[in-house]
């Protein structure tokens, strides 16, 4: 995929509080970035820098205040109807609470296939059977989310995004809400997904993992992307002072 973002601005109204007037927060401030022809893009940067806001726009969940986004030369639409069609062609996995708690893992997987993509129940079950086996989740298919571990929940969520055969995936800090031992199983699954050829954009704080799976890394800070670079170059030969101090801080902990 090739991603071009031009002059992207995202402002949110800030509700009035304690007698103070309502204001506007500028989260993305004329953000621009251009990638090469790549399989995976990883967004890193300090908290509050705008990574998740950018990802939500790329995933078609939010409409920016202004600016343009294009994947492979195709501009993202801005009306909800077209955006919904776009979202049906991609998959998104959030930090947590992806799964619907009133449905079993299996029903969670079937729901988009049956209700969004028009498969019959039988065809949908056939579609998810093999992936459930491959990712060692078949034995958990009958369980409700509350009976699954955090790692299992995220893996089912990733699978739900995968089985609709999306053009590309979006991950918004998929391991941030997990205990360390569960992070590994989720990251491993994302690495497998990549090895199988899937394209994705990933927001993460896991620098070692970013280096492992990223074709290019975009550094998002203060609502802008000052640096986009191939992974090796980003970690080893980066002279931008903001990136250097960010890497020192994150790698030190």
């Amino acid at each position: 995929m090739n991603l071009v973002v031009e002059d992207l601005v995202q402002r949110f109204p800030v509700p009035a509080r304690g007698g103070r007037a309502a204001g506007v927060a500028t989260v993305l401030d004329r953000l621009s970035l251009t990638t090469g022809e790549i399989g995976t893009l990883v967004l890193v940067g300090p908290s509050g820098g705008g990574k998740s806001t950018l990802l939500r726009i790329l995933a078609g969940l939010d409409v920016p205040t202004s600016g343009r986004v294009a994947f492979d030369g195709q501009p993202l639409p801005s009306d909800e109807e077209s955006l919904r069609r776009y979202r049906r062609t991609v998959g998104t996995v959030f930090q947590a609470y992806n799964l619907f708690p009133h449905l079993t893992a299996m029903q969670n997987l079937l729901l988009p296939l049956v209700h969004v993509h028009g498969l019959s129940e039988a065809a949908a079950r056939e579609r998810v059977r093999e992936p459930l086996e491959r990712f060692r989740l078949a034995e958990h298919a009958h369980k409700r989310p509350a009976e699954l571990s955090g790692g299992q929940k995220q893996r089912i969520a990733i699978l739900r995004a995968l089985v609709v055969q999306p053009r590309r995936l979006f991950f918004d800090e998929p391991t941030s809400a997990l205990d360390p031992e569960m992070r590994a199983e989720v990251l491993e699954m994302i690495a497998e997904v990549r090895a199988a050829g899937a394209q994705f954009v990933l927001v993460t704080h896991e620098m070692a993992f970013a280096r492992r799976v990223a074709d290019e890394i975009a550094f998002v800070a203060d609502g802008q992307v000052p640096v986009v670079a191939p992974a090796a170059e980003f970690f080893d030969r980066q002279h931008d002072p903001r990136v250097r101090s960010f890497l020192q801080l994150t790698l030190a902990t």
């Binding site: 995933a59 969940l61 919904r84 069609r85 979202r87 049906r88 998959g91 998104t92 959030f94 947590a96 609470y97 992806n98 799964l99 619907f100 708690p101 009133h102 729901l111 988009p112 209700h115 969004v116 409700r144 989310p145 509350a146 009976e147 699954l148 929940k153 739900r160 995004a161 609709v164």
Partner: protein, 245 residues
Amino acid sequence: MPRWLAHVIVVAAFAAAVAAAFARVNYEWNWAAVWDYRQKFLQGWLVTVALSLAALAMSILIGGVTAVMLRSGRPLLEAAARVYVELIRGTPLLVQLLIGFYVVATAVGLENRYVAGVLLLSLFSGAYMAEIFRGGLDAIPKAQVDSGRAIGLTPWQLLRLVVLPQAVRLVLPAVAGQLVSLVKDSSLLSVIAISEFTLAAQEVNSFTYSTLESYLPLAAGYLLLTLPLSALARWLERRFRYETA
């Protein structure tokens, strides 16, 4: 101790206490006079059942629409729903029935007092339902909406497949309580001369001068309606139960 036995013991103890109270005041029972009017009781009870069922369905409908309006984000719709809810909840049903029937219904030419009564009762209960539903909808985390949108659900699918099934479980106990109240509130329809259960008891009382013999069957008749309603709610609660993740 099995649960049914506990219930039997509590009910028996309560009955004994009530019986002792009656024994102390030396009340002279006169069931024979009231028995002659059993047909009137039955008719009144059936009217109450019919009124309650109609108002029950309609108040859920009104509550649902109002709850959606309350959360619509459109100032005019929100204001209309809010004013309706607060006016209804802040004023006595008695006043609403009297003004609603003798002024509003008459003004618009609605003469059937049964239809007017059901409408007024539904509007009353619907305001409470609206707040219950709104609370249930608000309690669904935004992340659930995000997840639903992310897989490409339409707003209607999102409501039907994701939000409502979770909200129903949250609001069931409160809705059941409101429905029980509705059945009992229907007794006030006697003030606009609807021959329902309570009016029947009042009339029997005025014919026979047997106050308790008229009103005790009234209490029993309402319990006969409200207890199954509570049982149904508990059964539904069990059916919709699942752990939250």
